[in-house]
């Protein structure tokens, strides 16, 4: 699967590329408008990560070009603009998702994963990973063909983990995923520990291997 990162900030582009890079992904980068236009006309990508503001033209024009050519590439807009208007505009133009800068890479990973799931697997609602099977539509999870009794939060976390498998996810990124802009309100990560602990326990009880590993004080890693 190929991912195109259209982002004028090379360092950010590199980070995204390094983070997403795995056996199943190949990342390409375009640092300006014309390169991006050239690449989208020549190749097909599973997912395009698109910065709206870039030198030489607007990311929205790239999006329009894609739609005009009936390309089915999934598009994730990353933008520093966070107003509702900008989001609506981006999504109306045909983007699949909209992520505001600055973001955590695991958040980007989970969003890209969701887009790819929709695009590649034709909206198939079942995600299989290890002994687990997640039903996206019904928001349920099965372990070894047995339904897991998960809270909404635990299910969310599990889905988030599967979108970032084999990567270390920082506690900050996780807290922000759950609470959004309100993570400041929490003050500490205590609420996170409780949920992870419960999720881990339920997975172990269902006969799964210990997928969720704590990485020092940094965060967690979901390994399959």
């Amino acid at each position: 699967m190929k991912v195109l990162i259209i982002e004028d900030e090379k360092e950010l582009s590199n980070s995204i590329c390094t983070y997403l890079d795995s056996e199943s992904f190949v990342c390409e980068a375009a640092y300006d408008f014309s390169t991006a236009m050239e690449k989208i006309s020549l190749y097909d990508y599973t997912c395009i990560i698109l910065d709206i503001t870039m030198p030489g033209g607007s990311g929205l024009d790239i999006l329009k070009e894609l739609k005009a050519n009936n390309k089915s590439d999934g598009v994730l807009i990353i933008s520093a603009r966070n107003s509702l208007d900008d989001k609506v505009k981006g999504l109306k133009a045909g983007a699949d998702d909209y992520l505001t800068k600055p973001f955590h890479l695991p958040e980007l990973g989970a969003r890209v994963d969701a887009i790819i799931r929709r695009k590649v697997f034709g909206g198939k609602n079942l995600v299989k990973i290890g002994n687990l099977a997640l039903n996206i539509q019904e928001k349920t999870a099965m372990a070894n063909d047995k339904l897991l009794d998960l809270t909404r939060m635990e299910y969310d976390l599990l889905l988030y983990f599967t979108g970032n498998k084999n990567r270390v996810i920082s506690k900050g990124a996780m807290a922000e995923h759950i609470l959004g802009d309100n993570m400041d309100t929490a003050g500490n990560y205590d609420f996170l520990y409780t949920h992870i602990k419960n999720l881990r326990k339920k997975l172990l009880q269902a006969g799964c291997p210990d997928y969720i590993k704590s990485v020092y004080g940094l965060g967690y890693k979901f390994t399959v």
Binding site: S15, A80, V168, A186, F191, T194, V215, G217, L218, G219
Partner: protein, 421 residues
Amino acid sequence: MKLFTRYNRINLFATVIIFLLSGLAFYFLLKYVLIDQVDEDLKIEQHEIQTYAGKYHQLPEIIPVRDQRTGYMPVGKDGGERQFTSIWLKDTIEKQPELFRQLIFYITVNNQCYRVTVRKSLEGTDDMIRSIVTITLATILLILVVSFFINRLVLKKLWQPFYDSLAAMQQFELGKNKRPQFAATNIEEFSIMNETLSQATAKAHEDYRYLKEFTENASHELQTPLAIIRSKLDVLIQDENLSESQSRVVQGAYEAIQKLSRLNQGLLLLAKIENGQYTETATINVSEKINVKLEQFGELTASKGLRVTTAMDEKAVIEANPELFDILVNNLLSNAIKYTPESGNINIIVEEGLLEISNSAASAALDESRLFRRFAKSGSAKEGIGLGLAIIRQAAEVSGFETRYVFEEEQHHFLLITDKN
């Protein structure tokens, strides 16, 4: 105290003092002159008696006159120099004590020494002085009344441009686009003052705009490097060779960056609100909004064991920008949750025109004057970024709402008055 009042007071005081002093001086001078006049008369009387005695060798016969009494008294020897004195005597008719001026001198007629007393009534003089004092007092009163009205009318008219400028300045608010307009005046001082005020407000306006732009630009410029640092750290922690001590270092950096990002977002949000980017309004049901928000915060209230009670008028609606109101409610609730101690209470009251959120206090009352300022953190709130309440106030102001803080019964009450009537 008003300038007029002050001026009038000084003016009245000075006028009264001057008139009293001059009245007093006038009184004594007049008295001196008049008594001197009487003394002259008495001297003439003496002269007449002496001339008569010298010519006829006998004392003149006493002719009774109403205002003048003369008396002779034989004495053993000459008493010396003549002397003038003032004396109170009973009036023969009215039996009232009356002031007389008397002259005593000695005269020798036919080897007999007489003491002669000539007395003249001062009643006429007194009358004169009295009428002069009355006239003086009447004049003072008249001048006072006239000057009072002149001050009132003329000064008020003269100072009108000053009051106009003052009113214009009172309307002036930094950050609003309206500059104060000063009416033209042909009085030099006021015209200079208006010009100075005009320049000062323009300068303040310009400085403020510049500062605002700077904050906004700085925040914008910070966005990208922050995003890069954060992404690099996200990549760095993937490294499997990271030791535990290195991880701790990364963790520290990671959290600082996180805080910096939030701070920056807060500043950007403030700039956006100030720039009036949230203008479109819609009718919003307050209790519905609160319920949605409470559900979003459910995770946090549950983990802290907070008890949330509500008393909401479900029909209460407000006219506001939906995004801005979302920010307002979000920050108010977030604040309440953040600063309520574990298993504390949060109460929410929604009425027409009022939203009140109160929470159990871990500390004493907060200083309201500093509370809504940027970065005006109290000592206990280390984890906050110090912009929450500033954003609340800014968002409320832009929406035409009023924010208020009250400390009552060990609870912090934050009030959002959405309808000032």
